[in-house]
């Protein structure tokens, strides 16, 4: 267990380091003068010089990289060209919105995805399975930003059921907050539920034909108990991994969803920063996303090895 953890942690650190190097080189691969890009188009020569000095662009590349790492380790992600405020503070206001959106979406996705997946597996060959499979196929094929668009058009503007855009902090009014975020969360969540449903279904089908399920059935356990305590529990191992891998989809989806519903989160920050050529923000956004991805997948692996002892054993020889 300890060795497996150590090797996974080492791998994650290595990946993280490579990501930092990539982002560092990416900013330097910008067309033209990176100092001009970092300072904004109409900056004075003295401002350019200051930026060059601040980012160490007037020094050799290894020295620049060292300075860059130093800044990162101090948690300093730079200053936005556009607003002049620190990128750290911009992230601090944007991230909670995205956390709430993605957490709620993940909850909805799990409820729908695992629920329909189990139903489809238990009622194999029945109409229920056909409906569930059809739902998943359509869920995989429908562009979710389009569903969001239609939801705004018909549910918000048309029927007036939900606010079409904007956000209220959970701290100022929890109810208003929910009213603003539930529609985007449902749209994002149903999008993710299709993949979860498919994985749950195939894992459950495998589990239901396994010997231990037959044994549980034979010893007279109620069917409901066999499904929830035996089959589903073992299927969830697969589902947890898939949920971890889906994180990229979740982040990408959140960016689009926030853009459509004008939620002031991480995704909106990302898109705005690209159009305003706000390079310090772009750099921070890319770095934060990649780091989150690596850390969460490491945690998923941990969880995986806690649930499934076989992983720990397999980890020894790889």
């Amino acid at each position: 267990m300890g060795r497996y953890l150590l090797s996974r942690a080492w791998q994650s650190l290595l990946t993280l380091f490579a990501v930092v190097v990539l982002v560092f080189l990416g900013i330097r691969a910008l067309p033209g003068d990176p100092a001009r890009a970092l300072a904004g188009e109409d900056s004075s020569p003295s401002a350019l010089k200051a930026i060059r000095h601040e980012y160490g662009l007037d020094r050799p590349l290894p020295v620049q990289f060292w300075k860059y790492i130093e800044q990162l380790l101090h948690g300093n992600l730079g200053v936005s060209i556009n607003t002049g405020s620190s990128v750290d503070s911009m992230l601090a206001t944007a991230l909670p919105v995205t956390f709430e959106l993605t957490a709620l979406a993940m909850l909805i996705a799990s409820l729908i995805g695992i629920g329909t997946g189990v139903l489809a597996a238990v009622r194999r060959g029945k109409p229920v399975e056909w409906f569930a499979n059809g739902f998943a196929l359509i869920g995989l094929s429908v562009p979710h930003f389009w569903l969001g668009l239609l939801a705004i058009l018909y549910l918000s503007v048309g029927a007036g059921l939900f606010p079409a855009s904007g956000f209220v902090s959970i701290w100022s009014s929890p109810l208003d907050n929910l009213h603003h975020i539930i529609l985007p969360a449902v749209i994002l969540g149903t999008g993710l539920s299709a993949v979860l449903m498919r994985q749950t279904r195939s894992a459950m089908v495998d589990a239901l034909s396994a010997d231990y399920v037959r044994t549980a059935k034979a010893k007279g356990l109620p069917w409901r108990t066999v499904i929830t305590r035996h089959a589903l529990r073992n299927s969830l191992i697969v589902v947890v991994t898939v949920a971890g891998l889906q994180l990229g989809e979740l982040i990408s989806g959140a960016v689009v969803t926030e853009q459509i519903f004008s939620l002031p989160g991480f995704g909106k920050l990302t898109i705005d920063s690209v159009f305003r050529r706000d390079y310090p923000v772009i750099q921070a956004v890319v770095l934060v996303t990649a780091t989150a991805y690596i850390v969460i997948n490491f945690l998923v692996d941990l969880l995986y090895s806690v649930i499934d002892p076989r992983v720990r054993v397999a980890g020894k020889d790889s």
Binding site: G26, I138, S141, P143, F145, L150, L247, V286
Partner: protein
């Protein structure tokens, strides 16, 4: 000397028989037939959009803005500039397919060789798998954001971003299939017979991994189509006035309350395209499955 010919003939016979069985299985599946028909129509429309489309994609007609669907000459209506929506969808489908094929091709050209090498040589595996991990930690949208920031937003950059994001998936799949195939007896036999690594990889492992690669490609195509739509919708992909289903939807956002059809039809087109690919992919996987009963 003479034994070489019957062996080769038997192999082609066997592959021909296998191919025929797969086609027979697909032909017996009505959903597969429907999806193939939809895809053929889409490809046909994309290739011949210049001649089939009732209107040019960019011809504006300010006297006939927001014509509802069914208006004479505009089956699906017109948008805010009086442009024919059906024609724009046809050209948009072309752009979608272009990006999707480019993206999947990119991911296969890079992912398949890397996967083969990683699965075959243990030494290379750790390096290549680490690279895949790094790629995997950039969600495709973030990758596209970075690429758009560095190289600007365009059709080809959108395709590259989607393609790069799909590399780890291809790589891992081909790697694990190579690992499996490498341990089989016939590979060992070929090696004992003095075959070079290159020969084994290209003649023995790659052909047997084809079905896995094929299925992966059919899963990747609809994902790429949705990816293009998202990127263009956000302004990170195809740039207006070049028609794309994503940019059409993003423009329709402004006037959706007045002309809902402009926001509905392009989305339906994306969905049909992705749905057809997904159903075809599912059917193909079933048909390729040697355990399948049909």
């Amino acid at each position: 000397m003479t034994t070489a010919i019957p062996v080769a003939a038997a192999t082609t016979l066997r592959t021909r028989g296998r191919r025929a069985r797969i086609i027979r299985r697909l032909g017996r599946n009505p959903l597969a037939l429907i999806s193939i028909t939809v895809l053929l129509i889409a490809v046909l429309v994309a290739v011949s959009a210049n001649w089939v489309a009732p209107d040019s994609a960019s011809a504006t007609d300010l006297a006939h803005t927001f014509s509802p669907p069914g208006t004479a000459g505009h089956l699906l209506g017109t948008d805010d500039l009086g442009r024919d929506i059906l024609s724009r969808i046809m050209f948009g489908v072309r752009a979608s397919l272009e990006v999707a094929f480019l993206a999947v091709l990119t991911s296969l050209v890079i992912g398949v060789p890397l996967g083969l090498i990683a699965g075959y040589y243990r030494g290379a595996d750790s390096v290549i798998s680490r690279i895949a991990d790094v790629l995997l930690s950039f969600p495709f949208l973030i990758l596209a954001v970075g690429l758009a920031a560095i190289r600007g937003a365009s059709l080809s950059n959108a395709a590259v971003a989607i393609g790069i994001a799909q590399i780890p998936g291809v790589l891992r799949l081909v790697r694990s299939d190579t690992l499996r195939l490498k341990s089989l007896d016939y590979v060992a036999a070929a090696l004992v017979d003095g075959a070079s690594d290159r020969w084994v990889l290209l003649r023995h492992i790659l052909p047997n991994a084809t079905s896995v690669i094929l299925v992966q490609a059919t899963v990747a195509l609809p994902a790429a189509i949705l990816g293009e739509a998202v990127l263009s919708f956000l302004g990170l992909g195809i740039q207006p006035p070049q028609p794309s289903l994503g940019t059409m939807l993003s423009a329709a956002q402004e006037f959706a309350a007045r002309a809902p059809w402009a926001a509905v039809f392009p989305g339906v087109a994306i969905m049909l395209l992705a749905l057809a690919f997904n159903i075809f992919g599912d059917s193909l996987r079933d048909a390729l499955d040697p355990k399948g009963s049909r």
